[in-house]
Amino acid sequence: MKVMALIYGDEKTWEGAGDDERKAVYGRYRAFGESAGEKVVGGAELASTSAATTVRVRDGETIVTDGPFAETKEQLGGFYVLECGSLDEAVELAAQIPGAERGAVEVRAAHEEEAS
């Protein structure tokens, strides 16, 4: 099964991090990627929510607003798509994602057939 692991954290902390700190964090993500190996089938790092745009259609009219759809204390900063035998396995993997230490990782099972 495919599982989406959503990584939430305080983006202000990340924005305020120095080069050395960033390098260290990227190094830990690389290490996670290497240890998880083929179980990682996708993923990406997102730019800050200040670059987000939200689109809604109401009564046939498109409404475009700047910013994320909801203001939250911690923001979605990236995700992985994991290929796992079960949601429990995904939870175990999620606990190894560096972002779980400061923020949180939400795991969501995907519907069996892919959306594209």
Partner: protein
């Protein structure tokens, strides 16, 4: 430029969906399918390459936090919001305007929202 389109569905819609019989759910899915197909055809006309996933009910989500080396697992979803993630598209678009054009063609934009997030290019 790569964009992540987060397809958010209203919490009430998720709730309503849970109470449907399999036949009703199947019928509603089938009813909506032409709009999804239209959005997909538009993407291929525009030469937009995309991957995506549809997610299962957020009631089954789990949240993992590691504190002092210990993993704490709670029921999710993580954020208590009026709309909850139902799936995503990861799309290579010309620019933000094209991503917005795509977003407004996604059926979930009518009930919930589509949040567009640019990726950090490695």
């Amino acid at each position: 430029m790569k964009y992540l389109l987060l397809l958010n569905n209203d919490v009430e819609q998720w709730r309503a969906w849970r109470n449907l019989s399999q036949e009703e759910a199947g019928r509603l899915r089938a009813e909506e399918m032409p709009r999804w197909t239209a959005a997909m055809s538009w993407m291929s006309e525009q030469g937009i390459e995309a991957t995506g996933l549809e997610l299962e009910d957020p009631a089954d989500a789990r949240v993992v936090q590691v504190r002092d080396g210990e993993a704490i697992v709670t029921d999710g979803p993580f954020a208590e919001t009026k709309e909850v993630l139902g799936g995503y598209f990861l799309a290579e678009c010309k620019d933000l305007d094209q991503a917005i054009e795509l977003a407004q063609r996604i059926p979930l934009a009518d009930k919930g929202s589509v949040e567009i997030r640019p990726l950090v290019e490695q």
